[in-house]
């Protein structure tokens, strides 16, 4: 069987030599840049003088707020080089344009009004740079009445249908809608944007002209598309959409030390679970046949709850999976970090940051047999690569000019 040995991969990265200039904030745009950086792109992250707002979002390393210690910033900006620049100055904008002259990708999260403000409209940025891929990931895209409206991760999630769909999973009917934990739905915008950018790189390589193009992603649409099945059913299949989650066997059960979940569409999976429970009589009808789990779902769920209440998550998880029953333990994040499975797969890699110290960073969720995994770098300190980039890309800038542009 094909297996990717984590220590014996290739010697190159997929996006080696691809230059990305990133002007984004917080989670969605930075995650798109992080994916490209993990795949080997040279990502130069521009920050305005105040720094990315992720730098002000707790928790922080060493237990106190510090712009170099914020979990959100560290996570979403790993493996990038940092340039602090004041885009309100002419000099600052010239630096950006100089960088864009040599870049393959410009990744930003400027809304239409912000693009106007900075004179960075996607089409005009491509003027004279036919090879450039100009990508944006913004809350509501580059067009439409909401494109410049104020929003936050919470309001975006509720506007996307995500929160409405998710509440059905709480098992309490259609009550107060709920937000997904963390910033998962913001990161979804970043993943969609990274896909759009790589698709544009593929398309660029296909053409003799080598032309780039404009890639536009809306965070709201990136969220909605993940709930496309529920949203479409709600629109097109009224009768089906009124049925709530939890019909039939399956759902969530409480056990001795937490919770378990499962969906079990296949008969052999149900048989495997029954075997795990020691073939109890209540799972069979008078003729010795396994009870139909759809028809008797509620009663079987009660029995399962009774059985699981005296057992631990780990005990049931491993025993059920050994019998092909797709039971999942509701793990705490700390338990994911210490799982043997993820240790073997090197899913968490240690990065050593000058201020924050050694921390475990998630990797891309796939192991590639022919190319190297992500670099083991960390997020840049604010303005960390200013001198380096001034010398490397902006030769001819005097220290005084650079200071006026906010880069020195």
């Amino acid at each position: 069987m094909a297996e990717v040995a984590t220590e014996a991969r290739g010697t190159t990265r997929i996006l080696d030599g691809v230059g990305v200039v990133e002007l984004t904030d917080f989670v969605a745009g930075p995650f798109a840049g992080r994916i490209l950086a993990d795949l080997g792109a040279d990502v130069v992250k521009l920050e305005l003088p105040r720094g990315d707002s992720g730098r002000r979002s707790g928790p922080f390393a060493h237990g106190r707020p510090h712009r170099e210690g914020a979990a959100v910033f560290l996570q979403y900006n790993r493996n990038k080089r940092g340039l602090r620049v004041d885009l309100s100055t002419q000099g600052g904008r010239r630096i950006l344009h100089n960088l864009l002259d040599e870049a393959d990708v410009f990744l930003s999260d400027l809304t239409p009004a912000e693009q106007e403000h900075y004179e960075l409209r996607s089409a005009s940025v491509r003027d004279g740079r036919p090879q450039l891929i100009v990508a944006s990931v913004t809350p509501y895209g580059q067009s439409g009445p909401a494109a410049d409206l104020p929003s936050t991760p919470l309001t975006r999630m509720h506007s996307a249908g995500t929160a409405h769909t998710l509440v059905r999973g709480l098992g309490a009917g259609l009550g107060r809608p709920i937000a997904t934990g963390g910033y998962v739905n913001e990161a979804d915008g970043g993943t969609a944007c990274a896909i759009g950018i790589i698709a544009a790189l593929i398309a660029r390589g296909e053409q003799e002209s080598g032309n780039g193009q404009i890639v536009e992603v809306s965070v709201q649409e990136a969220m909605s598309t993940l709930d496309r099945v529920d949203l479409s059913i709600s629109r097109n299949d009224q009768a089906l959409s009124r049925r709530s989650m939890g019909s039939g066997f399956g759902g969530r059960w409480e056990c001795a030390d937490g919770y378990l979940v499962a969906a079990m569409p296949q008969p052999h999976q149900w048989a495997g679970l029954v075997k795990t429970m020691g073939n109890p009589d209540w799972a069979y009808d008078a003729d010795g046949e396994l009870l139909d789990r759809s028809e008797h779902g509620a009663a079987l769920n009660e029995k399962m709850q009774e059985w699981s209440s005296t057992r631990t998550r780990e005990e049931i998880y491993h025993a059920a999976q050994a019998n092909s029953a797709p039971i999942g333990a509701v793990f705490r994040p700390s338990e994911v970090m210490t799982s043997k499975q993820e240790e073997v797969r090197d899913f968490f890699a240690t990065g050593d940051h000058a201020w924050a110290g050694e921390l475990p960073y998630t990797q891309i969720s796939a192991l590639f047999s022919g190319t190297d995994g992500p670099p083991t770098g960390v997020a840049p300190l604010l303005g960390e690569a200013n001198c380096e980039l001034l010398a490397e890309r902006l030769g001819g800038w005097s220290a005084a000019t650079a200071r006026r542009a906010g880069v020195a």
């Binding site: 094909a2 494109a147 709480l170 536009e216 039939g248 969530r252």
Partner: protein, 405 residues
């Protein structure tokens, strides 16, 4: 139309939700995606939904299957027969890659694993997307959306502070499928540049976990697991979802004030001027500490109006707000309509439907939806005769021998 993957052909061995959506994204980007199906081992999304149960229609009438297999072609094969394996090998020779979401090792047991396909087509690209990956002690474990979310730690973080963890559904599968599509695009790009193929081992659990990496950093920094906070924020208030209208037919509006300026705008726009003057709510920290009381007052305002009216009032004043949109309300939303997010399609055995547009807008090589999901085996003959050049009498023989079931 020409998408960025036009001219590429992908063999799609996937079923259920995550894998099919992974392959569908390649089809939306222009690839020709040929889904290998079986009449005896039917993709369960043609029959039922984990959330809603059996929908009661025929195999070509399932809304779930349709949403996850747009733009694809369907080829039915009984992979237990040698002739069917031979067809897959023939197909591999003229394809760029393959994607599957079987339990690791399943395709190898069918003698159709990466080594076999790569021998037919050197430098083949293959993405194998499983629940927990193809190595490690739990490589044989299986799961669906609720399992992946639970194992990744996301269920634990999702829910009300005083309630249980959420049992999560469809979007989890589609997120795992999105990560698989990302991996395929990366591998195809590498093949374009280097000529090298590769095998990619993708984990659905890790696909969820990589979208919440800061939560693991938080554990390492604080020594504790973050808790469930519902719709709240660690430092902003008001920041929640509020009921509008009556208990019989409630609507909901999400409101977030991030700073003193938005708070002042909120008080002015709602006419709750007594709040602006109240010393208990003067700073962000005070508002956050008194958020229970604050939330009651905010909800007393929202209950007097519709979610739409509440959101419009606040947005007009520069305060982030949105109604909690259900599917129908989203399709009818002016912004959704202005961006042409609803695409009409006409599946052969279903009523006309509106599905969601692809989530990327590419100016030169746009993604597109050019057809509904295929009927079971709809393209079997077309693929065998048209693509592989089999004679119609050979296809008749294969059919008679049960190879195409």
């Amino acid at each position: 139309m020409a998408g960025p993957l036009s001219g590429r052909r992908i063999i799609d061995f996937t079923w259920a939700w995550a894998g099919p959506y992974g392959a569908m994204q390649l089809a939306l980007l222009g690839a020709e995606v040929i889904k290998i199906e079986s009449t005896t081992r039917i993709d369960h999304s043609r029959q039922r939904s984990l959330a809603a149960g059996s929908f009661g229609g025929g195999l070509n009438q399932a809304p779930m299957f349709n949403e996850l297999n747009l733009n694809k072609r369907s080829l039915t094969l009984n992979l237990k027969t040698d002739e069917a394996k031979s067809i897959v090998r023939d197909l591999a020779r003229i394809s760029d890659g393959a994607i599957d979401n079987f339990r690791p090792g399943t395709l190898d047991r069918l003698d159709l694993g990466y080594e076999v396909l790569n021998a037919e087509h050197p430098n083949f690209v293959m993405v194998s997307a499983s629940a927990l990956g193809a190595n490690g002690p739990e490589r044989n474990y299986v799961g669906y959306a609720p399992t992946f979310a639970a194992l990744a730690g996301l269920s634990y973080l999702t829910g009300q502070p005083d309630g249980p963890p959420a049992q999560m559904g469809g979007s989890i599968d589609l997120r795992a499928g999105t990560a698989a599509a990302l991996a395929m695009l990366a591998a195809l790009y590498h093949h374009d540049r280097s000529g090298q193929g590769q095998f990619v081992d993708a984990s659905a659990r890790e696909a969820i976990a990589m979208h919440m990496g800061e939560q693991f950093l938080a554990v390492a920094m604080t020594g504790e697991d973050p808790g469930r906070i519902g719709n709240e924020h660690a430092s902003y208030a008001p920041h929640d979802v509020y009921q509008c209208g009556s208990n019989d037919d409630p609507e909901w509006v999400a409101i977030a004030c991030r700073n003193d300026r938005e708070w002042a705008s909120f008080c002015a726009a709602t006419g709750l001027t007594q709040l602006a003057a109240d010393d208990r709510f003067r700073t962000g920290l005070r508002r956050w500490k008194q958020r229970e009381e604050l939330n009651r007052t905010v909800e007393s305002w929202t209950r007097e109006r519709s979610a739409q009216e509440a959101a419009e009032t606040l947005l007009g004043a520069g305060v982030p707000a949105s109604p909690t949109l259900s599917g129908d309300a989203l399709y009818d939303d002016p912004h959704f309509k202005a961006r042409l997010n609803s695409v009409p399609i006409s599946p052969p055995e279903m009523a006309d439907r509106e599905v969601l547009a692809p989530p990327w807008r590419l100016s030169l090589t746009p993604a597109f939806i050019d057809g509904p999901a295929p009927m079971l085996g709809q393209h079997t003959r077309e693929v065998l005769e048209g693509l592989l050049g089999y004679s119609s009498s050979k296809v008749d023989e294969l059919e008679a021998a049960g190879v195409l079931e």
